[in-house]
Structure formats: C-alpha cells, structure tokens
C-alpha cells in the first residue's frame, strides 16, 4: 500500500502493524503419536472392550481425532483468539446490540466462591444467597420496567420473547378466546415474527409512517378481534422513541389484545420512562445488553421476562418465593403455578449472568442507571450530528440510543455500505450493523453506548469522515478493504452459496 493511503489511518492513531499468525486447523497440525498427556502404566489386568461391552457399542476403527501436544493446542487456541475483536479492544458500535463495556467488578462478584462454586442441584437451604440475589434482581427489574413480576429463566432475548408470546397465548386461551394474529411493525426486531409464528400466530406487518414512528391509525385499522397482541420494539430499530406508545396501547387494549415490548433497546430509557407505565403488558430484558453482562462469544446471554399481574399466573416455573416465618424465613423455589407455560431452562437459568447484572445495577444505583441512558442517547446524537455532514440521514430529528445512516450520498462514487464497513476495520473498529433495519436501503446502524468518552467518539467519527473522503478520492481502496487484517475481503457470496462446513482429510495439502 502506498504511503498516501496510510496517512489517514496513521494520523488517527488506530490500527498499526503487529504480528498476525497463520494458523492451520488442528487436524492439519496433527502428528501421529503426539499426545498431550502421560498415563501411569496399567496396574490392573487388561480387559478387552469386546468382553464387557455389547457388540453394537463397539467400533472397528479409531476416530481420526487430531494428535497434538498440550502446548500445541494451547498455542492454537491462543493464536486464533488474537484474531478476535472485543469491546475490551475498542469501540464496538454494533447497532441494536448495545455492546457496552462489561465492568470488571461484575466479574469479581461472579467469581465469589459462594456463587461460582454453588451447584444448581444444591437444596434451597444451601442456596439461600443465590436465591436471595435472584429475588432481589427480580424486584430491581420490575421496578426499572414498571412490571409486576419477572422470570429470570429465559436464556436470551429471543427466548424471553418466545416466553412473552406464549404467555399472551395462554392468557387468551384460558379465557376461551382463540385469536390468530399478532401485529408487528416493520421497525420491530427481526426475531419478533419468529416468536409469534412459533406460537401459531399469523404475523400482520404494520408499516411505520414517513417519520419512522408507528402511528395509531395504522394499528387501529388492523386491530380486529383476531388480534392477540402487538409486538413493539421501543425505542424502535431506527433508534426512535415511539411517541404514540400510550395511545397504541389503549387501542390494542380496547380491542382485547395485549402489548409485548421487545426490551432490546431498554438501555435508552433506564430511569427515564418505564414500559409498564406506557401500557405494556409483557417485555423481556437483555441482561447482556442493558445490564452489561458479557455478549456474543463471551456469553451466554440472559433474557428475563417481565409481566403485569394479569399475566403473572402464566409465568414459567419455578419462581423464587420469599417464605414467611412459619416456613422458616428465607427463599425457596415455587413450582405451584397451575397455569404456567412451564419450564424454559434447566435449573435456575444462566445464573452467573444474573450475578453480574445484579452487581451492575447495585454499583450504579438508580441515578447511575439513568445517567447510562442519558449518556447513551447523547453519544448517539453526537455521532449522528457529526456524521450527517458526510452520510445520508434517512430520518431527521433526535434519536435515542442509536442512529441510522445510509450510503445514499455515496451513490455516485460506487461505494456501498459494505465497503464503508469493511474499511472501518482498517481503522481499528468493529463495523456497525449494516443493511438493517430493512426499511432503510444501505443502512449503517451505529450504537456507541454510554461507554465511550468524547475523545473516543471523536476518533470514531474522524475515521468514518476519512472513509467518506476516501470514497470520493479512491473508491478502489474501499472496494478492496480491509487491507490490514490477516485475510482481506472475503467472498461472502461464495461462502453462502457453497459453504464448506466440514474438514475432510483430502482437503488438506
């Protein structure tokens, strides 16, 4: 690469040269006879497997597993781990995902032996600390959201969502009211239709207005006795607060339906407004977004679901219940919920995530949580304003926690959103969410979260503005990006059309 191409990047002080290792697969590294263990000689009589096991449990050949020493295996995984990007390395502005920093305090608390070494099958009497934490976390989440009860079981947002719609269905069916449809705005999260369809509902799409908002008329004209509920994402995937939310809830309630709120974007409302007060009947929380538990490969996730009292009889079991003096004051698991939709997760859910979320809420307190929302919104608006000079902004006005830009202003250069995203990698950033939401062509969806400093936001904005300049001066540079990664632009089309999913012995050279 010529010097002139590098200047922009070096001036910003981001990506630099470093060692990046090629790393073959373990299968390709395998050497017959290599082992990663040593065993004492056998000091009991040897037994033939065929003498003690049924014939159909035996196999004739030994599986061709790779043979390596311990240090080779450790280096293999350590090397490929350096190909990763993480929020501990830099800004991770993946819109809709709330990739906020995960405070190390959470990790310290989760590693307290009382939590880390507890066993899920321990009797309740020996799990009082964990059960108390769960009961208190339930109260916190209910207070933050304006809900009455919360189940901490769901493993992630999509399962919380599924649980929410299962409860809506159970509610209607219990009343002898079989309804067949769920209304879903085009600015809702992509998993919403799947949750409705898995419950046997027909999804009725509701178009948003030209301002990106869901309008009461659009819902009113589709609200029939067949509609079980409305699934709304608020703030929506355009990063806009649904200003008509209270009226929308009234319309759906008047028609006998319920309102599900996808809580993926709750971060923008913490301590400011509560879905429960807006009229929402059921919502999920992404602890791995809003409440800073690890995300993606660092998970697992956790997606508690909160309900108003009318849906509480249908919550998944078991629930944690505070016991009175007569039972010996403390906490126990309550399975006595005859109308429950049932169990959703083994044991108590992803409890280590519950501990981290608890630590986060307690360390910030109510004022700190509100400050998170304020800073997340301020950061998104700051970036939007700075970037509007060079990127098209499809929806004007203030946004909440994320902003959506598009490549429309770059059309004459031939540079697309994909090129911009790939070039951003050269500047040392994880690309934002691209080509989503679908209602915006060539969308770049940026969510900085509250974790970034003003200086960090400025560096990121400078990188995107530099890329917009590069698009005009040297579009070919962007078409070929990224240039600094171990692999340059991958052929995503071929990977999707002709995926190679399994290593085969004859594929190694």
């Amino acid at each position: 690469m010529s010097n002139s191409q590098r200047t922009g990047i070096e001036a910003l002080g981001h990506a630099t040269r470093g060692l990046a290792w090629e790393e073959p697969l373990l299968f390709e590294r395998s050497r017959p006879g290599a082992v990663g263990y040593s065993q004492d000689p056998l000091d009991v009589p040897a037994v033939e497997a065929s003498d003690v096991l049924p014939a159909d449990w035996l196999r004739d050949d030994i599986p061709e597993l790779p043979e390596l020493s311990e240090v080779e295996v450790v280096r293999h995984f350590t090397r490929i781990s350096t190909w990763n990007y993480a929020v501990d390395l830099g800004l991770y502005p993946l819109g809709s995902c709330t990739m906020k920093y995960n405070p190390k305090l959470n990790e310290q608390v989760a590693r307290l032996p009382g939590f880390a070494a507890s066993h899920p099958m321990q009797p309740a009497a020996l799990s009082q600390g964990m059960l108390e934490l769960m009961a208190r976390l339930e109260t916190f989440l209910a207070e933050i959201s304006g809900m009455d009860r919360v189940s901490l079981q769901p493993a992630a947002g999509a399962q919380g969502e599924l649980a929410g719609i299962m409860m809506i269905r159970a509610y209607h069916e219990h009343r002898g009211d079989r309804r067949s449809q769920v209304l879903i705005p085009d600015s809702a999260h992509g998993t919403n239709p799947a949750s409705a369809a898995l419950n046997g509902y027909e999804c009725v799409p509701v178009p948003t207005g030209p301002d990106g908002m869901l309008h009461p008329e659009a819902v009113a004209e589709r609200m029939t006795p067949e509609v079980a509920g409305l699934m709304i994402t608020n703030p929506n995937t355009l990063g806009l607060f649904e200003q008509h939310i209270a009226r929308l809830c009234e319309i759906v309630h008047a028609g006998g339906g319920l309102i599900y709120c996808d809580g993926a974007n709750l971060n923008a409302m913490l301590g400011v407004t509560r879905p429960g007060d807006q009229g929402v009947d059921v919502m999920h929380f992404n602890l791995h977004k809003t409440f800073s538990t690890p995300h993606g490969g660092g998970g697992p996730g956790s997606g508690p679901v909160g309900v108003k009292n009318i849906l509480a009889p249908f919550l998944p079991t078991p629930l944690v219940r505070k016991t009175g003096e007569d039972e010996g004051a403390g906490y126990r698991l309550d399975y006595e919920l005859p109308l429950s939709i049932g169990r959703l997760h083994g044991n108590l859910g992803n409890v280590a995530m519950l501990v981290r979320a608890f630590a986060y809420i307690r360390s910030l307190g109510p004022d700190g949580l509100r400050r998170c929302a304020e800073m997340a919104v301020l950061n998104a608006n700051y970036l939007k304003t700075r970037l509007a000079k060079s990127f098209h902004v499809p929806y004007e006005g203030r946004v909440m926690h994320e902003c959506v830009l598009s490549d429309q202003g770059l059309e004459d250069t031939g540079v697309t959103t994909l090129d911009v995203a790939k070039r951003l990698i050269d500047y040392g950033y994880h690309p934002p969410t691209i080509y989503f939401p679908l209602v915006v062509h060539g969308a770049l969806m940026i969510e900085p979260t509250e974790s970034e400093s003003l200086e960090g936001l400025d560096r990121f904005a400078e990188a995107l503005l530099a890329i917009a300049r590069e698009a005009r001066e040297d579009p070919a540079l962007l078409h070929g990006a990224p240039h600094y990664t171990p692999r340059s632009r991958l052929d995503e089309t071929r990977a999707a059309r002709r995926p190679v999913l399994r290593w085969q012995p004859d594929s190694s050279s």
Binding site: E411, I434, H441, E492, A496, R497
Partner: protein, 132 residues
C-alpha cells in the same frame, strides 16, 4: 444510480415480483430492481408443485448476502411448475431475473385478478418513490 431493466410485457407487484402470462399459466419472478437491491442471491425457497397460493400472500423466501425477504404471489391459483435450477444456482436470479431466474408458474383460479395492475411505467415510478 444504476438503472433497472423493466420489460413492458410484464405485470408488476408493489412487492417487486413480476408476472408474465404464458397461455394458461402465469410465470413469476423478482424484478431487476429487487435483485439489485438484494445483492447476491444465495438461496431461494420455493413451494412444491400442487401448492395453492393466494394473491398477496407469501409463496416463498429469497435470501441474499444482505437480507431475507418473502416472495408474494401476484395471483391466486395452483403452483404448476417450479424452477428447480435455483436450488443449485441462485445466482440465476441476479444474472437473468426475467429468464433463467424465473421462480414459479401459477395456474390462476381467476385470471381477471391480473387486470388493472401495475405496468412497467407505474412500477418504475413506484421504485423511484421509494428512493426518496
């Protein structure tokens, strides 16, 4: 902006499918505008012959590197033929969306459903409006 090829002899859906009457059957595919917007198509899920479809309802799914979208039937009737080649060669939708990229053939229950629908000029206007 790249232009799109919108043949005159077709009927267009607002949802970017085209329909072409060929004797007693109606051939259906997606428009050049749709394939350009989607980018490289990697998978097309189509119904089996004999399936009933309703005008305006989804009959299949198209997936590209950018997005997954439903395919909507331009007319009600029975699916009488399906382009099996697309299973192995989804790129035909990008390369020849009005020819080798066709998707299904429908025997319409009521051919009059196709009257008064969007022609190429009306559809071109519809595409331009969405760019705003």
């Amino acid at each position: 902006m790249a232009e799109y090829d919108l043949p005159d002899n077709l009927i267009y859906n607002e949802t970017d499918e085209w329909a072409r009457v060929e004797g007693k059957r109606v051939l259906v595919g997606v428009t050049d505008y749709a394939q350009q917007q989607l980018g490289d198509v990697v998978f097309v899920e189509l119904p089996d012959p004999g399936t009933s479809v309703e005008k305006g309802d989804p009959f299949g799914v198209i997936e590209s590197v950018k997005a997954v979208s439903d395919l909507y039937a331009p007319v009600s009737g029975e699916v009488v033929d399906v382009n099996r080649d697309l299973a192995d060669h989804p790129e035909q939708v990008n390369e020849d969306c009005y020819g080798d990229g066709w998707m299904i053939a429908i025997a319409p229950g009521d051919a009059s459903e196709l009257e008064g629908r969007m022609d190429s000029a009306a559809y071109a206007k519809h595409c331009e409006e969405r760019k705003e």
